[in-house]
């Protein structure tokens, strides 16, 4: 069954089309890769799915329900979590509190629940477990702004997991990571998927994409130019053109 | 009566335009709400008065006031704002308010709490168009403002320096990669903006025939409202909003006589406009 259905999705910024009639589906429990050259509209697509941008046209259905007009927090509460391409942890909050902010999703909708203390032993333990889960150890009390980039990326994944998502959108999670860190990330993505989280991955690191995704969608200048399994995509003439053409020109 | 009020409105609007231009230029490059800009405006009036007493020439004293204010503007930029840029916006804002309070007090202590007379015999032609007649001082204000606005427009649109200033306001980091010394550009922007505020101070001093320590109090905040109304950092927007508010104040309160304080009008207009255009009249997005 399709967890997410996207149809005729179009978004323009002052005359520049970022997405043009994009359509695809994401099945429950799959890992879908979104690839394409820079400026292809990948992050815009994520922003539309998470409600941060309102599409000009087209439909996005999550669990069969149209998400049009839903605010980002409503979609987060329904189970769509994301990380950001340029990391955005809350810089002066501690690592633990960064994760706890997301754990609060159960409390926020009711003022009464939100008035309860957040730093309970149970909540702290759960947050620590999530941080350990993404491979973070050590001082969870230090401010997130002081972390190196690789750890900020992991922190963002831990924070997204604290939302108990059904759908996890990862925007270039391996960007700025070293090779062995990327391999650990690959393993983590696989595990999360096995636990039942559906994942959409924007990624430039081809070994990662080819390693975990069974299906890919290729965007170029806001248009979906190909969709299929990795081996077919690698041979797709338009995809080769999009990448090589860019490389040859740039 | 009506035409006289329109003339008053144009003169008021012209002074607002001069003051807010500096404010909006400064906002463009540093994104700080420069409350102390009105301190520079009052400084200009005082310096202009002192210079006039020595030099006995309005034009020379105007020039001196603008130069002194430009220097003061650079000092404020270098020692207050630039070191605080990476901090939350509220820090330079409070610092600026502190500086403004200190400046007003310094004027009071040095020059005395009372208004000083600005005795100038203005010999200037009286402009007019049909039944609309500007008095000599109004004509002077209008002419000087238009002259300075014209020069600024030429500078911004025709010169390399102007291009660098506009580019820095848009995206300082990218501009720096093209080899532009953006720190210098920021300082120059402050200098020009402050010189305009100084000119506005002198003009108001001449127009009202007096200079007093707290003459910047109302402009300090009203000009912020006008700048926001025009679309923060948007230069044509600021000019448009200045004349609109200048005219609205004199016409609604002077002619229609609505029972409302003149100085709150700019804020009411601003709040109403922001409800529908959260980025101001000519703001983008």
């Amino acid at each position: 069954m399709a967890l997410l259905e996207i149809d005729q999705l179009t978004k323009a910024f002052g005359g520049v089309t970022a997405l043009q009639d994009v359509a695809f589906e994401v099945t429950e429990r799959e890992i879908l890769g979104i690839i394409g050259p820079n400026g292809a509209g990948k992050t815009t697509l994520f922003n539309c799915i998470t409600g941060m941008l309102i599409p000009d046209r087209g439909v996005i259905r999550f669990r069969g329900q149209d998400t049009h007009g839903r605010k980002p927090h409503e979609l987060a509460l329904r189970g769509i979590a994301r990380t950001f391409q340029v990391v955005r942890p809350f810089p002066t909050l501690s690592l633990l509190n960064n994760v706890l902010v997301a754990s609060g999703h159960r409390a926020y909708p009711s003022l009464r629940a939100a008035a309860a203390p957040f730093s309970t032993p149970a909540a702290r333990e759960a947050a620590q477990a999530l941080l350990a889960r993404v491979g973070m150890t050590g001082e969870f009390d230090r401010p997130a702004g002081t972390l190196p980039l690789g750890l900020k990326k992991r922190l963002e994944i831990a924070r997204a997991l604290a939302l108990d998502p059904a759908l996890l959108l990862l925007d270039e999670p391996s960007g700025g990571l070293r090779h062995e860190e990327s391999l650990q990330l690959l393993e983590l993505i696989r595990q999360l998927n096995q636990e039942g989280i559906t994942i959409i991955l924007i990624e430039h690191n081809m070994p990662i994409v080819m390693g975990v995704c069974r299906r890919l969608v290729v965007l170029d200048h806001g248009v979906k130019i190909a969709e299929g399994d990795p081996s077919a995509i690698q041979r797709h003439p338009q995809v080769i053109e999009a990448y090589l053409g860019k490389a040859a020109r740039g | 009566m009506l035409f006289q009020q329109i003339a008053n409105g144009i003169a008021t609007g012209a002074v607002y335009a001069l003051t807010t231009l500096g404010l909006t230029m400064v906002y463009g490059v540093l994104r700080v709400l420069h409350v102390a800009h009105a301190g520079i405006y009052a400084l200009g009036a005082y310096v202009g008065l002192v210079a006039f007493r020595f030099l006995e020439s309005f034009w020379l004293s105007l020039l001196v006031a603008m130069v002194v204010c430009a220097a003061a503007g650079i000092l404020v930029e270098r020692f207050l704002y630039t070191p605080l840029l990476h901090l939350p916006r509220i820090v330079p804002l409070i610092g600026s308010i502190g500086l403004f309070i200190a400046m007003e007090e310094a004027f009071r202590i040095v020059a005395g709490p009372y208004a000083l007379a600005y005795e100038t015999e203005i010999r200037f032609l009286s402009l007019g168009l049909g039944p609309l007649r500007l008095t000599a001082p109004q004509s002077l204000i209008f002419t000087v403002t238009m002259l300075l606005l014209g020069l600024l427009w030429l500078l911004l649109s025709r010169s390399t320096l102007g291009l660098a200033m506009r580019a820095t306001a848009m995206d300082a980091d990218t501009t720096a990669t093209f080899g532009v010394d953006t720190r210098l550009i920021v300082s120059l922007t402050f200098a020009i903006g402050s010189a305009l505020a100084g000119a506005a101070g002198v003009l108001i001093g001449v127009y009202d025939n007096q200079v007093w320590p707290t003459m910047g109090s109302i402009p300090a905040y009203k000009c912020l409202a006008i700048v926001v109304l025009g679309g923060l950092g948007n230069i044509p927007g600021s000019v448009l909003a200045s004349f609109l508010i200048g005219l609205a104040e004199t016409l609604l309160i002077g002619v229609v006589a609505i029972p409302f304080p003149r100085d709150a009008l700019a804020f009411v207009a601003m709040i109403l406009v922001l409800m529908f255009r959260p980025r101001g009249l000519l703001g983008k997005g």
Binding site: P117, L163 | A102
Partner: protein, 300 residues
């Protein structure tokens, strides 16, 4: 016994502490710059004064209604504020202050330029309470504000505010209804200012629009920032220091406003976190001293 003069000064400082703590909820915790806090203090003061002098209600109902009305108006006036961010927000709140002050000044119902007089100190068992008694009441309200502060900062609400302060968009992506929590901050902060306004009105017994001007907002905000924004101790210490300054500097009357301005300027320039901010010199040296002493002890 405290002298009458001292009690008067202490009550004034106490009211400023309540104002600073309530503004800290909006600007310190939720990160929404407000340059118009005195407007809500004024709304509270006028509400209380009108219910007391015109409707004939007693002090206590007037006092509570002041908090309620200021909180409600804070909620309503937060709506234009929600459409704008950062610098636009700062100027909008400033505008609200000017408009509220103009309303008091120009509408005869509010006494216009004459203000409202004849607001008495509260009665307690049929007797007007003494100034010391009133001071006790102010301290009680400060205690309640501190309790509220502690409670909120430890709750999910406080955590949501912190997230909004740091990154609104990311906070939304974490399931936080940004609009709702911002409105909550404005409502609670304004209600606190309303209570302080009522205490102020009944203490002065006579209020005028100028008491709630933009300059007053600046004084309150300066106290919060001076002590250390976003902490509990900061606004309290800021209110005490800046509130006492005019009294201490009475001999140097001529220069006190100059000193005030320079103090703000230099503090922001060299200690932008305020004197007691998390990363400021004083708390850091104190912590160092503590560690050094502890090390000294264990070293022996």
């Amino acid at each position: 016994m405290l002298s009458g003069y001292l009690v008067t000064v202490l009550i004034t400082i106490g009211i400023y502490i309540i104002l600073a703590l309530s503004l800290n909820l909006i600007t310190g915790y939720a990160g929404q710059i407000s340059l118009g806090h005195a407007a809500f203090m004024g709304i509270g003061a006028y509400t209380s004064a009108l219910f007391y002098t015109k409707a004939g209600l007693g002090f206590w109902p007037s006092f509570l209604l002041a908090g309620l009305v200021a909180g409600l108006l804070g909620t309503i006036l937060a709506i234009p504020c929600l459409r704008v961010r950062e610098d636009f927000l700062a100027i909008t709140t400033m505008g609200i202050n000017f408009v509220v002050e103009a309303t008091f000044l120009y509408i005869p119902f509010f006494g216009a330029g004459m203000g409202i007089g004849g607001i008495d100190l509260p009665h307690f068992f049929g007797q007007e309470i003494s100034k010391s008694g009133y001071l006790a009441l102010v301290v009680l309200v400060i205690g309640l504000m501190i309790a509220l502060d502690r409670w909120l900062t430890r709750s999910w609400i406080g955590l949501a505010w912190a997230a909004i302060r740091e990154d609104e968009e990311a906070a939304g992506a974490m399931g936080i209804d940004v609009v709702r929590f911002k409105v909550l901050a404005f409502a609670l902060g304004s209600a606190g200012a309303g209570l302080a306004g009522s205490l102020y009105a009944h203490f002065l017994t006579f209020i005028m629009p100028v008491n709630f001007s933009f300059a007053q907002s600046m004084v309150i905000l300066s106290m919060v920032v001076f002590g250390g924004i976003g902490t509990l101790r900061g606004p309290i210490v800021g209110a005490i220091v800046l509130g006492a300054l005019p009294e201490i500097s009475r001999p140097a009357m001529e220069y006190r406003t100059l000193v005030y301005g320079l103090l703000l300027l230099l503090l922001m320039r060299f200690q932008p976190g305020g004197i007691l901010g998390e990363h400021s010199l004083l708390p850091r040296s104190w912590r160092k001293l503590c560690t050094a002493m502890q090390n000294g002890k264990t070293g022996q």
